[in-house]
């Protein structure tokens, strides 16, 4: 059983490396910027989020840029610890937020896949399995043993996509992404994505693309300025947004 439970979840981003004093003068008009008790300028990224996601739900996070969608995903993934509130994520988490993170441009495709296996904490045998699987799916041929610095954009996407989707987590967290492969690859990608999403108990995806919401999601959470302004069945929320 997988579940995500958030109650009163808050997250403030401090501005550390900017001149706090001048910044305050310039920016402290907006409601989301304020100073915290230790007199730092902070921006409220998430404010008082309450929601519960259970097994079988496919949730879309929708809202304008800066609404806090990716920040919420990163918090769910365990990158940021909330400053107020409680968060529980049950089930093994797989986060596809920035698929290129941790890739070494000077290493070959094969070396990068092994490295990713190590990042995920896989034992040797499973690392080798991962290499085989990614090699078969990405279809890079000889380029698999060439430094990825030399890859074309499309080849990079293939490798990243194959690598990212070579897992079967219970809780799948996805940020919006762009597929730029060729047509034959897109068909293969679609099928693989469907299998990944179908195999997960919970999907949370941050997206601007409403066709993605309609196609994949059962529920939508609409965010703006770090707060949830609507939460319900995907169709209803989309209708509420006028699409």
């Amino acid at each position: 059983m997988a579940a995500i439970e958030a109650s009163g979840l808050c997250l403030d981003f401090p501005f550390y490396h900017l001149g706090a004093r001048s910044l305050k003068k310039r920016l402290l008009g907006g409601a989301r910027l304020h100073t915290d008790p230790s007199n730092r300028v902070v921006v409220t990224a998430l404010r008082n989020l309450d929601f519960r996601i259970v097994t079988g739900e496919r949730v879309a996070l929708v809202g304008p840029n800066g609404a806090g969608k990716t920040t919420l995903l990163r918090t769910l993934a365990g990158v940021y610890e909330p400053v107020v509130g409680r968060l529980l994520v049950e089930g093994q988490i797989g986060a596809l937020i920035d698929v290129a993170a941790g890739m070494d441009p000077e290493s070959t495709g094969r070396e990068n896949v092994t490295l990713r296996g190590l990042y995920r904490g896989l034992p040797d045998a499973q690392c080798a399995e991962l290499v085989e699987e990614v090699a078969a799916f990405a279809g890079l041929g000889d380029f698999f043993d060439v430094p990825i610095r030399t890859y074309s954009a499309g080849m990079g996407v293939r490798l990243a996509f194959a690598l990212a989707t070579a897992m079967q987590p219970q809780v799948l967290l996805m940020d919006e992404w762009f597929l730029a492969g060729d047509a034959a690859f897109m068909a293969k990608a679609e099928e693989r994505l469907a299998r990944l999403v179908g195999g997960a108990d919970i999907l949370v995806i941050a997206t601007h693309d409403f066709s993605v919401v309609r196609r994949w999601c059962t529920r939508a959470i609409r965010m703006e300025g770090g707060v949830i302004i609507a939460d319900g069945p995907a169709e209803e929320i989309l209708a509420g947004m006028g699409v």
Partner: protein, 280 residues
Amino acid sequence: MLDRTAATSPAYIVDAADPQHLRRAIADVTLGFSRWRLASALAWLDLRNRYRGSVLGPFWLTLSTAAMLLGLGLLYAALFRMSLAEYLPHLAVSLVIWNAIAQMVNEATTSLTSSEGIIRQMPLPYTVHALRCVMRNGLVAAHNLPLIGVVFLACGHLPGPEALLAIPGFILIAINAFAAALLLGMICARFRDIGPIVASVMQLAFFLTPILWKPRLLGHWEVLMPLNPFYAVLETVRGPLVEGGGPLIAWVAAITYTVLLVAIAGAFFVRFRGRVAFWV
């Protein structure tokens, strides 16, 4: 398709009202050390990428240390009116170990900020980044260590069985390196001015620590030497290799400084670990 991997714990719970700093910090360190293979793979990559395309690669460091040893050795042996055979073994051990310590401290200041891209994208124990920094510097130092053997052979200096005491000395250095990578890595992520300060402190420390000169040149001030943490730690390796075993006071001081550094780094890590992702 790979099976469900048991890499992460099945339930991730954070409650700001009950942050459990200590438990999380301990989990970070134990999980981080269990991922030592990742840290070592990254350390090798760093080294390979740093010297990509270079013919000699990291052996340039060996070469430049060798040149420095020869130049400084000839000059300072003359200045201090010592024979080369007497002075060079001291200089070789001091310089090689000092280079390792100095580089380690300087890179410790960026141990976390240099991994910013990973820290903000995937949940990984911060220990892994500190370990990567320690391992990378260990690998670099390993390229210089053979110089000590070469100098010993050339000068006919043969340390006795007490040379084995250098092994606990190296272990002390490694423990300090890890603690420094965590502590300086965190402090320098939060306060970006600390890095340059550390660099200039290390430069000053090079002259205040008996590397070019021998402690006994200080005369009756020599008793104050253990107050310098770099001397104490350096002596735990140099003593066994050059002096036939270091003074007891140096060992006591070195262990005390190590305990202090580990305690400070530990306390800082326990308290502020959760903030690192916001700092980098």
